[in-house]
Symmetry: C2
């Protein structure tokens, strides 16, 4: 029910996912009348793979998370997360209110041992090697070295799972590459991450290198990660408006624009943000994928694909194992 | 002598500045033989407005700041800063080692009362209103509310001076616009900045709004600011490579590229980073402009123009006055 478009986007995305993954089945939580309407409208077949669950409420995009948690106990979001908790579903995909999804996930699914709050992780495009995973994107505004090391472990497992890389290169975001740069927590985190077994840690990475493709995982605190991600969105928007205006200047530039349209289209397809939809709330005892509120059908399909892949790979269990292996070093750090 | 190109760029930039500002005179610090060569090579006239000072050493781009400060007492950088300290020059422009420029400026010029370290501030382009000043860009990785409030005061004065705006709109970078967002220091800083006289404070601003043009000054700690700025550089580079490749795909796209070249050129001219060259080390008892190491002649000219403008406006004195006016509130905050 969430996001800007609700079932009019989620249902056709489900249709697409059913075709791509014939063994996957869906439980849809929300207004069953609306859902059935959309299923009919989009002529979704294979309805044997679809179950509909009537919710009594929806978390609104601007509901304060604490109130959503307290007052909306039969919301579509909460019912979906309960299905994951009870083992009736392998993963939850939602385009709803991020703060509420975070709060309700934490309450319903609980955290993996040693983790206090989920981190938000998402892929962003890079020049070579296609993409990099950046975390945390805003859930943890203040992070000590232990938490940053947990992020490194979780990001590393996610990259291994989703991209089939044996040894992802992991970097820690800092204002310089030299060991003496940044504040003390960061230097301690660098030492701790470097000491972890089976971690291909490449040290500090500067902001301009995020998009280079030299790293598969870049770790930072949620305050910096959120601002870097949002500034990148803002800059992309700025540049797209400016280039559009450059082509609209006069009849000649408009003609050039017309001719160059397929090229600009190919360019846009390559950097298509839809591919990168599906942030993961990582560190929970279950799989929760946050689709962007403005996600269209293709983007929502990508978020569903991510859920499918994480389920196949049993990502939470893998993260749990790695956190256990590192628990000695992590608890030494916090001592 | 600094930057990637030394006098081969600084001298023609000086020539351009002499034409644009016939009342400005220059003191050039460095290898006088090299400087004279370049002056002759570029046929710089009005040499009555140029004085050359032979330095005995140069700070290298990779010199550790502490060593540059201790061992290079006759470097071109230091001699230039001493000229500002002694009132023989109104401002210093350098394309050299940022860390060393920071350390030596701090030692030679000293800080304004109440300021511990200079902040780095620079203009970045926006959709409307041309540009926004972002600070700190990396000098202060950890900032309490008092320091963030000082940044707001300094940024506010700089925007008033350079852009002739009576009441710049000032925002504080955060992970959300709501008052409850972010960590405690940030909420305290927001309250403190909001309480300052003659400050048009607009509250928290999210990363995607930096480029919107809704703000003239955006304040953040040096860790976040540095990473946001560098990530923006990285993203711009990524997008420019991708668009170039899109036009290089085959003979047809190459033809389109040829036709669209003037449009892409106009686009590039509009977002031209040269215009935004000239970061200011702010909070010192003198004017220090840091030109980018890779700055070309036009970009270096822009950095010189900024120095001229700040000198005309007596920026350090204005900041000093505002810090004094706010000193009660700032010291209450640190109590």
């Amino acid at each position: 029910m969430g996001g800007d478009f609700g079932p009019s986007v989620t249902i056709p995305a489900v249709k697409k996912a059913l075709l791509a993954h014939p063994k996957v089945s869906f439980q849809l939580f929300g207004d069953s009348q609306l859902i059935n309407q959309e299923l009919n409208h989009h002529r979704v077949k294979s309805q044997s793979q679809i179950q509909i669950f009537q919710s009594e409420d929806d978390v609104k995009m601007d509901d304060p998370p604490a109130l959503a948690l307290k007052n909306k106990k039969k919301s579509s979001m909460r019912l979906a997360l309960e299905a994951v908790r009870d083992g009736r579903a392998n993963a939850c995909v939602s385009a709803g209110n991020t703060g509420a999804l975070m709060g309700i996930s934490r309450f319903i699914l609980k955290m993996l041992p040693g983790i206090d709050r989920p981190a938000i992780i998402s892929a962003i495009p890079t020049l070579i090697n296609d993409h990099v995973y950046l975390l945390d994107l805003g859930a943890n505004v203040e992070c000590d070295e232990k938490r940053l090391a947990q992020f490194a472990i979780m990001g590393n497992e996610l990259a291994k799972c989703l991209d089939n890389i044996e040894e992802p290169t992991v970097g820690l975001l800092n204002v310089g590459e030299e060991e003496i740069k940044g504040h003390e927590k960061l230097r301690k985190a660098s030492e701790l991450i470097g000491s972890l077994d089976s971690m291909n840690y490449a040290g500090f990475v500067e902001g301009n290198k995020i998009f280079s493709g030299d790293y598969q995982v870049v770790v930072t605190d949620g305050f910096t990660g959120n601002n870097v991600l949002k500034a990148s969105e803002g800059l992309s928007h700025y540049l797209s408006i400016k280039i559009k205006k450059a082509f609209e200047r006069n009849w000649w530039t408009r003609l050039c624009g017309l001719l160059a349209k397929p090229v600009i289209g190919a360019f846009k397809a390559e950097i298509n943000p839809e591919k990168y939809n599906g942030a993961c709330l990582i560190g929970l005892r279950g799989i929760v994928i946050k689709s962007h509120g403005s996600a269209n059908i293709n983007a929502t399909f990508c978020a569903i694909e991510e859920a499918v892949q994480q389920s196949h790979e049993k990502l939470p269990q893998k993260i749990r194992d790695q956190l256990e292996r590192a628990s000695g070093k992590l608890s030494d750090a916090s001592a």
